[in-house]
Symmetry: T
Subunit: 159 residues, 12 copies
């Protein structure tokens, strides 16, 4: 790339962490999709399926963006675990309300990470990368909106 | 389920390990898809993309099968890392020939795991599970066939 | 058929009862779909529509399977009423929670009938029939899972 | 509804009987579809499948029309059996010609019931209901035309 | 048109008011779609989106029907404001239950307006117009049914 | 049909004349579509193609409607020529403006014939026929609108 | 066209007669499609519908081919009646066997007319026209084959 | 949102005015689409339909963008009337040329408003919003181009 | 394959014979499709086309199944001729009734061969192969049903 | 190819010139599509877009036809410029009427070139090439027809 | 057919041999598709699958062309073996390079046979047949081009 | 445009050069697509076809962007030749490796030109233009990645 090795290494470092975050957020969203319960079961099961599909669809373009910059990208489950900033939640039972709230804050954090990566790419003039991230920013804010509104006034008993 | 708690726990244990394997094999196949090089680049890039898509498509049905049996399933990247029997390969450079060969043996191992899980489900009379696994067995053997034939006579220099 | 008249008569007897069950379960699921009420109206209305469509789609293949075995199949509403093991519910008002719970147990019973029929077909070596039933077993267990999770923690007032 | 309780009850009573008729006529048409025989097997098998699909497609709109009027609708196989005016035919063997002729008169009777219901709805100014019934009248007359022309000159031996 | 100037002017006057109502009801339904909150967020957000799309789809045919009668139709936001009989609701917070209830009565009023316009068109023998309005009557009654059933037993706190 | 022989013969007589009119109007519209010229060539060529397709689509339903009433229908080009009330225009050159104007009056006449046939069917209670004609009335009035507006202010030189 | 006025006039004369033949054959095929009767009703009704659609699809390309040669084409029902070489059959009752046989000879005659027109176009080097006619020749021979085989061994009583 | 309340309020204020403008421009474009006349009728009728559809498609994303920022959005026809900067044109007759010219300047003004909003969002680092506006800027400039070129050399008589 | 060389050779031997049978049955079904005659021409022509397409669709999966087991498969027309157990019928004229009857017994024989192969695969635990064969068993029994019912009461003169 | 080197070289020479012509005519048609102005803007903009797409679609088949004959084909913009017989028009302003007229004569010239190439291919018995050219001849004559009719009676002021 | 018995017999003899060749070439191409190996496995596996599908698609039209001429066509595997001029290759191992080269010469021979048949049909004025063969000639030359270019510079070791 | 004449002229100058580059790069990519040879023939033939289609799809939006800015755009092959910065390669034989390498550097140069144009548009605040270029930057970097990886380790003999 004509952007120089320092630039591309710095940008790819951000992108690869985002791709790892997306993977982890994808698995957590599916986790809650699979273990949902209560009267809202179908509605939330579908909501989380749609959101997980949207998150998953960002992974390949992010990873390929690194490769287009001439940099390596994700290699394994272990590599993802190392790079990702989204925490695992292996609890046996999570109430629907807690699921929504945890995803609200994970998506907020992901939005912030996207914005940070945008700044890095922008500072190196990599407008192809920023253009992609802008779409993901909007999607991430949309997921947060849905999850936040759905979690308002939720009943603490889990349903 | 009318199959009894011991049966469903035993079957779900197998299924969840398969789902974790599928996740890890998916990531490794994408790893090689992303880092492919040499004159066969496009051909192998597409081959591994098709194979990864086929592997990925098994994860949700496997996880949901556990849930239909009333058992929990995958929860996180860390959970996947713990359950999966596919080894990470984080090497910086892997030649195309080595990629194909490593995937041949991973897919072979996955086939064997599928057959073992089939036996467990079959011994507990869970014919809905066996029916699903039979399709994945055929697909896994097909991936192995393609990878094996493509790796015959390959040049050791990596291309 | 090369399976012999005793075998095909025994298998068809099972299949025709399943087809009649499917008809009755279809009508009950539509009954609840049509008479649903309360804040979850749209969500459950859609859930039961999807489930009824899945149940309905089993009827023609089951009936035609009997015919492929050279045996007769369903003939009329009266015939269905005689063969079906699913109970009518003609109550004027059924609360949403009761609807979900009644369908949980009807689908569980249907699963058990499918497994019993599978055993009969299997004992006579009719692997085309068993292959079809395996798909319906999985679907029936999936419907039960959805209905069960949705009915957890439901409010007894009907909403 | 702004149509008043007497009006909607009277209209719904007609609609629910039509929905029950449609169910019974659907099952009889499928009965003959499944038990067809003779040189015209495929042609009549398909004809009756097309006609049964057209009949089946009227049931949900009819039942939902009752609900839109604020009235209850069909509840079970037993309820259908009680309301329907189409006779069961559980004979073991019915010749193709007899099948076509019996369906000619059942469809004619269904047309007359549709026209009677149309009159009731029209007398109460329920033009949304009449609009739906007009389409079903045309379809019912079309089925009768096809069945009548196909049954002309048919051989009494059954083929 | 061969219907005469008095007839077409009278009919178009009704149609244009309906088109303005549809516009206002469309915007209110979207208003509630955008500002929905609480555990039913996604379900009601989608419900109102589907209903708004159905309402919106009536506007162009209504306006073009006036033009086919040789009469003018809607011209601007101000024109809509003047003709529409649906009240604005600019409140900052509306609870989900209030949203559903307000739409129940708006849709009921719209149904009555449709029926009144049907009478006018019918009295002038304009059967192309009545035919279109009959479909919209059915749709409007359907929206009312959904909204009414969903608002039964709703919790006054807004969720 | 339960409508009686006098009724069906009277209705079919109207319908068959409409079908013949539709054929003749179809051919004339194609005539002008094929022989169009001048700066608006493509626009009018497409307009007349769309209109001819809409007219053509009425012929089969009209003819089949006669058959559903147990009456015969169109048989040949000669039969069409005898029944149709649309005049041939075999002139070598017709200016675009004259084409549009001639079609305006032919479509107006066709609208009037549709309304007359509607009255006959309505007087015999044949609501399946009236329902079909109502759609064609609207389409015919739409074609007239388009042709009329396009012919306003047209240049007499032919372009 | 660079083919010269004599050539294009001669070719267009042939093409326009073919287009008129196609129209007349289309109407006759629909005539028999509408008035079919007997045990083969649905099968022949569909056969003739497919054939009529194939014939109809030749009319626009033939007429436009004349226009591309700078020559006029069909103008009206009367024009078609004058040019067409296919005879009307306005008989009240035609047996199915007679229908098939009459269409066999009409399609044979149409094939011969196509071949004659091909010769004219070919003699003037108009290879765009010959290319189109070759496809229609094949279709016409296919229709003849189907009709001929279906009419073999047919019963003279009409069914 | 991590952008802070001042930022999101400022951006949403701009977005909501754009959404109101889009609504008003949509209605005016439809107004002219419905009341078009003259030889270009069909061409301009379609042009304005395409443009209105493109404008309409911006409303929901703009309104939802405000909601993703945690801000309210449009509520009613009255609210739109208050926020919009596009003037109503309720004149009884507008010539085609005047229609095109008025839309040229309305679209130009809308472009300028989009650019101003872009600046506000950009100054607050809201790159998801700027990314959406960039697409609408291009579309608005395209509509202006089409309208401007079509209005060049237009005849003042209205056609 | 982990099934061992003896197992895979034994299974592949069965599969390759089935693939050869399928080829031969495909050609015979097409032979009768091409040389059909008599009043049922179109109906049987289509029936045999559908059946031939279904048979043809089994060949590639069968052949690839051998390859997935690491065994060779079909190589040529001569190889097919050697392996196939379906007899050629090169008779110049076969009556429709004879065609249907010959295919009844060929399909029955094919069903028996499928069941025999199923037993071999099952005895070697090759559940991917058995799963595929189960679908083909059902299809083969369906073809037999259709052919058998259509051949009942057929006329020996060939039509 | 079995056609011999002299034949294939002669044919390919013709084909490559046609491909270059098509490229140049494509660019000119797009030139006029992009720079169109006046009241017919949208209509002619679309007309030229459709025509340019049709022309563009001939390039790859023409070039590949040369390759199938074992001959080279187009290599670059410079190569196209050298081979093409269509003149560039780089004028700053071309009136719509002049655009249509210039394209009329360019398409006429292209038709003549196609016919000349047809003769060469035909003289060498290359019927695969002639078959392709026949389709392009028809398309080229159709473009000429549309452009010619649209340019009749056009106003010299450019609009 | 109006072409005379000698003509149709001569043409059909050619066509049937071509259909048999196509069958044999289809099987050989699939043979190599199934038994491909080496680094180009996927690429050649797909290439041969595409080519086999293209060859297969010619068989039904060729066979039906004979039937349209009133002549019989292919009947069995044995019949194909007798008529085909393509040699079987039952070798256990064929290197990829040898596969490509053998198919180059088989396709060349098939091209020559197509040209010879074209000459026969052309000499009898059967332009429907020649029109079909022209398309197959182009396809056959295209397959040869691909296979030839792919076999250039291939490595003799088989990979 | 509200951007001012200097700005739009400067931006359009950049865009038109990019459009010309895209044309030239399109033709060169097709050149190599058509003249490819060697064992990778199909793989590279497809690769270059996909890349050429992607490049081609940029031309119309680029040219129309200039027009939206009120500036002229490309006019002819000669104009393209003058503006383009991509060099022609008319060599008779280019080895596959050289083809890939030459395209690597052409695409790199095109990327740099895109970035330069982005800077110009950005400096004039034309965010609609920058938004489009960002997508093309990403695509151009993707093409370079594929071509570069495929050209690694390539054999200098041309295959």
């Amino acid at each position: 790339s004509d952007l120089g090795g320092n630039a591309t290494a710095a940008i790819a470092a951000e992108i690869n962490k985002l791709a790892a975050d997306a993977f982890a957020l994808y698995v957590k969203t599916k986790n809650f999709h699979w273990h949902m319960s209560g009267p809202h079961f179908r509605d939330y099961h579908l909501l989380l399926d749609e959101q997980s599909a949207q998150i998953f669809a960002t992974i390949d373009p992010l990873a390929e963006r690194s490769r287009k910059l001439g940099q390596p990208t994700l290699r394994s489950i272990g590599h993802i675990a190392k790079l990702s900033r989204i925490k695992d939640n292996d609890a046996e039972f999570v109430s629907p309300a807690e699921m929504l709230e945890e995803l609200v804050s994970d998506n907020k954090a992901f939005t912030a990470s996207l914005r940070a990566a945008h700044e890095v790419a922008s500072s190196h003039n990599d407008s192809a990368t920023t253009s992609i991230l802008e779409v993901y920013l909007d999607e991430s804010e949309r997921r947060t909106w849905f999850l936040f509104e759905a979690s308002r006034g939720a009943d603490r008993t889990g349903h």
